[in-house]
């Protein structure tokens, strides 16, 4: 599903969160969205999730123009987008299996295929012995794998990952990236990921959209140094990059 933003503006009162954003993301692309906190990354994702409406401009996902299409068409399109968040957004009083089942129920997955689908994604996420546990009983890495399993279960055309590695340690971070890359390559699922971690961005060599102060200031392929405003990569960053690239 192609994503198209045309002259999109979003204002919160007098504050302009996005300014004249023009953007096209082809089906099957892996795109990083980078930028400072408050730059407009989350606003962009919220617009794509139809959680908020633009002040002006049009957003089209596939053939569906969010502003002009019927509500059920927008909802159907919206259900083809999987989501992963930094804080996992799993329901605390539902088991991991129930959380995945909820996602499937929302998109109207065939009832007789739900259990086999859950088994499949649980196995992929290596959560077999955690499936009946509740989120509070899982580690950060396991929670993020559970969130990924829930996103993958609905067989999405697009996955939006909002700072998904923010709460993860190095091993879990790279495992998640590996999983997302695999999904992108095998299923041709469009991945849109916001992140602050420039090591990840550089290691994958994928399209990067940099947002600053509500505007797109860079769209293309780049090295970390070009994106890093601080221009002061730490020893820690270097080590990570080197270890991944090696």
């Amino acid at each position: 599903m192609k994503i198209k933003f045309e002259e999109v503006n979003k204002n919160y009162g007098s504050i302009s969160a996005l300014k004249d954003v023009n953007l096209e993301i082809e089906p099957g692309e892996f795109v990083f969205i980078v930028g400072h906190s408050g730059a407009g990354k989350s606003t962009l994702l919220k617009l794509l999730l139809n959680q908020i409406q633009p002040t002006s401009g049009t957003i089209t996902v596939g053939d569906v123009n969010f502003a002009q299409s019927k509500k059920d068409e927008v909802e159907k399109t919206r259900q083809k987008i999987g989501v992963i968040f930094q804080d996992y957004q799993l329901i605390h009083d539902k088991s991991i299996e129930e959380n995945i089942a909820l996602g499937l129920d929302i998109v109207g997955y065939p009832k007789n295929e739900v259990q086999s689908k859950i088994d499949e994604v649980i196995k992929k996420a290596n959560l077999n012995n955690r499936r009946f546990l509740f989120p509070a009983q899982l580690s950060g890495g396991e929670l993020q794998r559970a969130a990924l399993a829930r996103a993958l279960a609905i067989e999405p055309k697009i996955i939006l990952a909002d700072e998904p590695t923010g709460n993860l340690d190095l091993d879990n971070t790279w495992n998640l990236i590996k999983n997302l890359k695999e999904v992108n390559e095998t299923n041709h699922t469009t991945i849109i990921m916001t992140t602050h971690n420039l090591d990840i961005v550089e290691s994958l060599n994928k399209r990067i959209i940099k947002i600053d102060n509500g505007s797109i200031v860079f769209d293309g392929f780049a090295k970390k140094a070009k994106l890093d405003d601080s221009k002061k990569p730490t020893k820690h960053h270097k080590t990570n990059t080197n270890s991944k690239n090696s």
């Binding site: 959680q51 509500k71 609905i154």
Partner: protein, 290 residues
């Protein structure tokens, strides 16, 4: 996960709120059922009196046969007369003794001379009774007293109206309380499950999808509450039926007609479901804004 399973989780995970909703609905429909049964009983009593139009004209002592025949003739000239029965003093004594045969003290001192002769007139149209009453109550030289059921019917009608109005008022107040109880409980449950709703919305759930379990919850409160309230009132009515009906004999105050109970049952279930649905629908509309 089906909507019913989700709803069941909501009910089970806040049992006291759920019990309050069930309880208030039960009380509401228990009261409505009782007032319906009592109103039906009073209507039966009223109907009994209305379908037995009768007037009794007590005559002055010492009237000769000629005068009595004239009165009978005059009465028979009225339209819609079903029966005119002359009760002589002796016949009146006979009837009095028969009515009080179990109490000899009441019959010992009574003689035919102290009981008045009378005419008992039955009509097919109650309107004629008013005309006969007006005519004979003014003939004080030959008529001692005219009694007919106007006062009884009026009194019964007043009581029935009062009961109906009181019933409607009480049922309305309890109904409004039930509505707001379910409305508030659904609102509290929505607030408690804010996180779940938010996540569902993030996963692409439509507004109706997130509202569905709460609407079903309201319907269950209304349906189960009205079912239990109605059944409980029927059980109480069946237990007390023989005693109450004996008191109102020959009127069947608490009816045996199964159609009455079937109608009341289904009407109350329908009203209960509607009330629960309305409260939860407005509650969901008011509180689900995320």
């Amino acid at each position: 996960m089906s909507t019913l399973t989700t709803t069941w989780h909501h009910i089970r995970r806040s049992p006291f709120q759920s019990l309050t909703a069930f309880g208030v609905m039960l009380i509401c429909f228990l009261a409505i059922s009782f007032f319906t049964i009592i109103s039906s009983g009073l209507s039966s009593v009223l109907k009994y009196f209305e379908t037995k139009p009768e007037i009794t004209i007590f005559l002055k002592d010492g009237l000769d046969n000629n005068s009595i025949n004239n009165i009978q003739k005059e009465l028979s000239n009225y339209s819609n007369i079903k029966e005119i029965k002359y009760i002589s003093k002796d016949k009146a004594l006979e009837l009095y003794k028969q009515q009080n045969k179990n109490n000899p003290l009441l019959t010992e001192m009574v003689t035919a001379s102290i009981l008045p002769a009378s005419f008992e007139v039955q009509v097919s149209d109650p309107k004629v009774l008013e005309q006969i009453y007006e005519n004979y109550s003014s003939k004080t030289s030959i008529v001692d007293e005219v009694i007919y059921q106007k006062d009884i019917i009026k009194s019964l009608l007043d009581w029935t109206n009062v009961m109906k109005k009181t019933g409607i008022a009480i049922a309305s107040v309890i109904g409004v309380i039930s509505f707001f109880t379910v409305f508030i409980i659904i609102g509290m449950k929505i607030t408690n499950r804010k996180e779940e709703i938010k996540v569902s919305r993030l996963l692409g759930a439509s507004t109706f999808y997130v509202k569905k379990p709460f609407l079903l919850e309201g319907i269950i409160y209304g349906g189960v509450g009205s079912f239990l309230g109605t059944i409980l009132s029927f059980i109480v009515a069946f237990i007390l039926r023989s005693k109450i009906n004996l008191f109102f004999q020959p009127v069947e105050f608490i009816t045996n007609n199964p159609m009455f109970y079937v109608t009341v049952f289904f009407t109350e279930i329908f009203v209960g479901i509607f009330l629960g649905f309305l409260a939860s629908w407005i509650g969901a509309k008011r509180y689900i804004k995320f």
